[in-house]
């Protein structure tokens, strides 16, 4: 997988993950172009399209479009499943996820994605182990935060 984008129906980017190093300017251009193409497609249309030398697989969940770019020999259907799995993970984590969850906790969404995919490849095919990893990492984070006293925070301790 080359990259994954999440954007809203209004054309606002909500998440982007690039698995190959791309210059900032090219990223912007590609995102704009892709959003235009995908948003223009009608709901009855199939989820695949050929774009430049890539294949684009997208799926719409409520007001959010999940959009992946894969290479020529990659399997479109499994990519759809990847998207679906990611949505399921978000759903489990946030509890019936909505667009606002992703907007306000965008770093969390990234953490989940990073646990699920790495370098564009699926890291773990089991939902459970991904969620477990996330939970434990969060736990660690809370441990970090909780024992801080007010004094500590003020830098006096």
């Amino acid at each position: 997988m080359r990259f994954m984008l999440l954007f809203s129906r209004q054309g606002k980017l909500r998440l982007q993950k690039w698995y190959t190093a791309t210059a900032e300017r090219d990223k912007k251009k590609m995102v704009r172009e892709l959003m235009q193409i995908v948003l223009a497609r009608k709901p009855k249309m199939c989820s695949f399209l050929e774009w430049r030398d890539l294949k684009i697989v997208y799926k719409r969940y409520a007001s959010l479009y999940f959009c992946c770019a894969i290479e020529e020999q990659d399997n479109e259907l499994i990519t759809l499943e990847v998207i679906h799995r990611f949505v399921e993970l978000l759903d489990k984590y946030f509890g019936s996820v909505c667009e606002l969850d992703i907007i306000f906790n965008f770093e969390k969404a990234y953490f989940i994605l990073d646990e699920f995919l790495m370098g564009g490849e699926i890291q773990d095919t089991s939902k459970k182990s991904v969620l477990k990893a996330i939970e434990q990492a969060d736990l660690l984070q809370e441990e970090d935060e909780s024992p801080r006293s007010v004094l500590e925070e003020m830098g006096l301790a």
Binding site: A21, M45, C46, F48, L77, E107, M118, G119, Q123, L140
Partner: protein, 1134 residues
Amino acid sequence: MALKIVKGSIDRMFDKNLQDLVRGIRNHKEDEAKYISTCIDEIKQELKQDNIAVKANAVCKLTYLQMLGYDVSWAAFNIVEVMSSSKFTYKRIGYLAASQCFHENTDVIMLTTNQIRKDLSSPNQYDTGVALTGLSCFVTPDLARDLANDIMTLMSHTKPYIRKKAVLIMYKVFLKYPESLRPAFPRLKEKLEDPDPGVQSAAVNVICELARRNPKNYLSLAPLFFKLMTSSTNNWVLIKIIKLFGALTPLEPRLGKKLIEPLTNLIHSTSAMSLLYECVNTVIAGQYSCSVGRIKSHLLCVQKLRILIEDSDQNLKYLGLLAMSKILKTHPKSVQSHKDLILQCLDDKDESIRLRALDLLYGMVSKKNLMEIVKKLMIHVDKAEGTTYRDELLTKIIDICSQSNYQYITNFEWYISILVELTRLEGTRHGHLIASQMLDVAIRVKAIRVFAVAQMATLLDNAHLLTGNMQRNGICEVLYAAAWICGEFSEHLENPVQTLEAMLRPKVATLPGHIQAVYVQNAAKLFATILKNQEGNTDSTAAQETSQMMIDRLPLFVQSANLEVQERASCILQLVKYIQKLQQKDVEVAEEVSALFAGELNPVAPKAQKKVPVPEGLDLDAWINEPPSESESEDEQPKAIFTKEEPKHSRPRHTEVDEKELARRREARKQEQANNPFYIKASPSSQKVYQEAPGVEHIPVVQIDLSVPLKVPGLPMSDQYVKLEEERRQKERAEKKKKEKKKRKEKRSGRGKKHDSGPESEEDITPAHVVDIVTEEMPEVAQEDQNHLPSPYLCRVKICICMFCLCRPLADSEKLPVRSHRAAGAPKSPAEDGEAENATPQEPKKKSSKEKRDKKKDKERDRKVRLRCWKHLPPSGHKSDSRSTPSEGRTAARRQLRRCNLMTQCFTFLVFPFSRKVCDIQGNLQDGSQVVVSVIFENKSDSFLKSMEFNVLDSLNSKLQRPEGSGPHDGLTVPFQLPPGVSNEARFVFTVQSIVMPQKLKGTLTFIVKNEDSSTHEKLDFKLHFTCTSYLITTPCYSDAFAKLLESGDLKSSSVRLEGVNMPFHHLLARICFHHHFSVVERINSCASMYSRSIQGHHVCLLVKTTVSIDAKCDEPTLLGNVLDEIKQTFSQC
């Protein structure tokens, strides 16, 4: 101090966190940019503070802003600071920010190496995990090199969570630092059998991706993967494994046979569509040798695809069609039976599905079903909404009909009717496409002209229908074709006066200029024809009336704003006035007038101009006149009417360029071309005489079927042709049956079963009238220009991970660089301990010279492997070439093979430490004493090669031609330099006195190897082998000339027996033809006569018998002896 800190913390309470920022942005919809710029200012303030929590918060906000498209590269250093925080919370944010914002050119990445190394070895697995995840996004070649060893250690970590990540990231590391692949591979292989399914699937993933880049190295893993495939139930993993096998099977055909069973099982059993699709794709792509299994599995695939296409899910439908189009390439028959289904898809709501179906139809047409398919498409054209799809349909219809030179059209009247029907489409952009088809058909299919002219006349008559709103309407281009056809073939017109009248209507003046111009010109042609027709009549008033009409109507065009129209009109107007004068004096003018337009125009092949050799002394680049300094207005350029017409090169208009400047530029250009490996230079020796000159064949024009009404009132309907065609075919079939019955009666044999008229096959369908498709003209002097063949060598070299052989034991030099100084307190894993101590710590950049040598050796070994492959090429090249005509062979592979055939005379491979040379010796036909040697230099090293000098020690017999004024021992400078990994070709001319003996010449190549810091002078010795075969030139010979030659008695004979050759006779012949430049004169049963000619005109005749003996005759016995020896040698090698 403390106060300052307290103050900072209190400030912090009022800081925005991420949620505040997001909320703020949402509340400032109107002045978002302004709001964000104040936010960025705040963030800058926050980053200046010492408190890491504040910084992390700021970095988090920046990451969000980065996604919105704001530049945050200025904060890169702060991101590194946050990354190096000891607290997981901040570290996580830091790495996230880095993975989103860093790229290869971010300079602070260099600073992160040690931090990442520390995190990788952290006792906390989540620290390590976060570092690995981040690294996977921004790994650079430097990072990959420095950290490869650490990551490799992590592949054996105790926690599967880390192992999994480490395995996956190794793929990125391999890409950035290919040298790490060999040392890491054994461990990667181990992970295929890891107890943890996650790690296992990660390893499968990585190996599958690697194998897609270079399958060869992973063949040895096939049994292991086979086991995994039959045991695994995880669909994600199965898909990857199947994909991997898809990459492996082309290399190992036996694998395909073995795979068929499990694959078909999976296809039958799986419920997961993605897996099914992957299996089907692999079966389609695999070139399975076992024929029974293949047919079965193919049928199964097509069946399954049909189910996919019939599915209501658009996605499956789309993929089904996509896969079908892949099958179509190899097994068109099996797809054709699903025509109904594919036609149904044209009705689909989804445009992308319809377009896919259209693509499929293109490949599915045959003579039998063309009319039917096009009829369906025409219905869709009428129904289609949206001009883009309709235009797509239109172009597809034309593509389908015109493909491979109108191969599938049996009835051109039908095709013309289709084209005429298409003109009724409103608002299409493709008027010019229809027009060019009309012209093409009318010109090239002589038999159709009568019909076409009648149709075009109707079109002209009804022009008002087409030109509703002209300016926007592309369809009026059709009138261009109509006018031209009516004018050019006006002798076929039923009522020329009426057509002339139609062409001179005042409304015409509203058409675009270039069309009007054609109207005017062709009106003149028509006028000439009318005069000719009317001259015979006793009553001359009719002719005079026509002249009067011309004189009345033409002034309208004389006033045209378009210069072209104006000029033609005024010219013709004067001509007609003069004719009128003569007519009034009762002078017969028709002959002279029609002489103006006499002669037939023949189509010319698009490449014809290229084939005409440029006469000596003509420099096409030189200006004839210096270009005018001021630019002219070009806005009235007429649109190209022929689709194939190349875009006009608008020459950049230089303002006054003086001679010196021109010369300087030319020199610069030459220099550039010399250094550009993709520029193929002209050679003095492209001496293949163009042998087949397809002339215009004049097949007698056959009468048109009279059952078709020639005069169609209004616009015709193509449908009737479908019916007519059906009837015609039935009639034909019935007649055939009758004939067959007769035959059978005559024969009265029981074997007639074979002839039973089963389903109509493609060959049975004869065209309605034999159409003579005029072959396009080619100049006969044309030369086969070798320079146009892209050189296969130029694109062959790519240095990537593929080049490393994985089966070889590790060389010392390949061990991964181990950190030279350790991060404090980093725990060492015991397994790694030994290795770290064994390898001397060293900076990777400073490699000892010994190591360098080792590297070179490795590379050489790779090269040898590749060279061997190459040597196998020529024979297969011949096979493929003998089947395809020169105009075919578009694919890269074929081109490559073809090139081999054209040029192979004698390949000598020389392995150089720095460069590889392939040379090819070829006789010069025009000069009996010249031989051209083409040498391909390929730089396989990592250094820049320059100042190459090529020198050969001349012998008495053969001399390297050197430029005038240079001494007999001077080398020739190779006119280019070679950057690493690039190859280029140079040609050297030798003069040879006697060609009867083979020779070896010794030579040297000197060059300068330029590295980053040093440059050295290097020398290579090589030998050039001039075989006698390389002096022979394939020359065709007719059997009677051959017989005369043998009778003449001037030839000495000799014979040879080839021992131990057991190949089919035609292979044997092909081999002799290919390797020794003979051509077969005649083949009778068990023997064949062959002929070739040397560059000095010696005849060499062979009689080859199936008993593998060769009797040979030649007027030069020594030459003959040597050639026979060489032939013998060729066959002893195989």
